[in-house]
Amino acid sequence: MSTPGGRRGHGGPRYPAWLALPALGWYAAFFLAPLGFVAAYSFAELSGFVGVDFAWNLENYRYLWDPVYRDIFVRTLGLASFGTAATLLAGFPFAYWLARYSRRRTLLLLLVIVPFWTSFLIRAYAWLIILDPSFPLFRALDVDLLYTTTAIYIGVVYNYLPLMVLPLYAALERIDWSLVEAAQDLGDGPLRAFRRVTLPLALPGVVAGSLLVFIPLTGEYLIPAILGGNKTAYTGTLIAQEFSEAHDWPLGSAIAMVVIGSMTVVLVAFSRIAARGEVANG
């Protein structure tokens, strides 16, 4: 498979597979090995002030089964679910318009791609200014949302919206709109045509967008820290605390493992949904 010359047919001439080795080595050393250490740490316990003792027991996980922690996990799931639902609700009609009706698409698409890649921190910081009670808009309305859960929710929708829109657009952009028109010509109402034609074709985008929003939100730390004033704890807040203030790395590792576990569950569930969608699409 690594002979580059002469081979025709599927894929054309090839570059050797061993070219992947440098990147794979980097992933193994600096991604997989670190995650392995976290897994090992989650079964360890503190010894003394900073030392770690590999006891190989479930004490950390048992400790996390406390209602205090469970409340925080549930709250985090709530935040991730809200973020996913809200960005989907706001993002779908927008991506639909962009894919079907917009003109000057090169520019309009760029305007979504720019916030997708830029300054997560600074885009959260921007709301610190806007939500300040002395900012003209809110001074006029006489509301103070800064450092509330509402502020966190606004920040989440703001920062994650582009992550939802781009995969939605990628799926919707491929749709042959004459199919939708044909369905309508054959007697489907607009809603029915949407449900039977557009939605199934858009499903991969919905799945990808939901994953891109939901998974990172399960470990979100910055937005609650900046816009919530660190008053409300989420899973990410706990991890950051154990690693920067409390210095209980084994407990922090166990919390990180909970995040990885829920990420795996979500990935498997969503890939099932996507697979079913593909079957339905034929």
Binding site: G5, A17, G91, P115, I129, A170, V259
Partner: protein
């Protein structure tokens, strides 16, 4: 939904996406001492920021890390992208999954994992550890962008080159590399911004003495917003937005559509 309604919604979405950013930039030009008390146009906070040692040294660190990271990520990511299309499926599928994992794993988890790892193997935290950690997800970014272009171009020219007797190395140099150059450059620019903007990973693996620009902004927020931080934020925005727009133009100009700035977007 009616077409007009959809268009109106789109206008609102764009306003929502850009108004907060515009506010930061606008208030960065506020001459007053208080962030929100407008006292006339001035660029004095920009020059104040550029005279502040803690800001300039953080800026220098961020630029060094981002540039080094982009170079390594380009090398690893491009090689990976070249190797994938011809690879056995049973090898390619798990590698694809690994690449996806490096991009979707919540960054805080990766950040603490890198911290635990570097501490265990006894590496001193600093610029180098930040760079090494950033390369992990940026190699994946470059691989995705370059691969999209590589697959999209087809392999006719490479075949012709082999038929004419060129080996893999000269085929790469004379045929593949020139055609992939825009994608590699765009991937490099994205890797640069991704690293320059990174908060989570740097936060955990920077150690005590090293600060990057996002870390500086974050730590200064404990004291609330201030005009100098605002000016710093505006400069970060200008730099990263510039790099992304450039990446987008490079990819468009070189024949593709948006091809690969986001996987799947054409």
């Amino acid at each position: 939904m009616g077409r007009r309604l959809l268009a109106a919604h789109a206008v609102l979405v764009y306003a929502f996406l850009y108004a907060p950013v515009a506010v930061v930039v606008a208030y960065a030009f506020n001459g007053g001492r208080q962030t929100l008390n407008w006292e006339g146009f001035s660029t004095k906070w920009f020059s104040a920021a550029l005279r502040d040692d803690s800001i300039t040294s953080a800026l220098r660190n961020s630029l060094l890390i981002a540039a080094g990271n982009a170079a390594v990520a380009c090398l690893l990511g491009t090689l990976l992208a070249l190797s994938l299309p011809g690879m056995w499926r049973s090898l390619r599928v798990p590698i694809d999954a690994l690449v996806t994992m490096t991009l979707v794993t919540p960054e805080i988890v990766f950040g603490i994992a890198a911290l635990v790892f570097f501490t265990e193997i006894g590496l001193t935290l600093g610029l180098k550890t930040i760079l090494v950690a950033h390369v992990v997800f940026n190699a994946s970014v470059v691989a995705l962008v370059v691969r999209a272009r590589f697959v999209g171009l087809g392999h006719d020219f490479e075949e012709a080159s082999y038929d004419l007797g060129a080996g893999p190395l000269s085929t790469f140099r004379q045929v593949t590399l020139p055609r992939l150059a825009p994608a590699i450059l765009a991937g490099g620019l994205l890797a640069f911004t991704f690293s320059f903007d990174d908060f989570y990973t740097s936060f955990f693996v920077s150690g005590a003495g090293t600060t990057t620009l996002p870390l500086y902004v974050f730590s200064s927020l404990r004291f609330g917003v201030s005009p100098i931080v605002n000016a710093t934020a505006a400069m970060v925005l200008a730099l990263t937005i510039g790099a992304i727009v450039l990446a987008y133009i490079v990819l468009r100009r070189s024949g593709g559509r948006a091809g690969g700035v986001f996987p799947g977007v054409r």
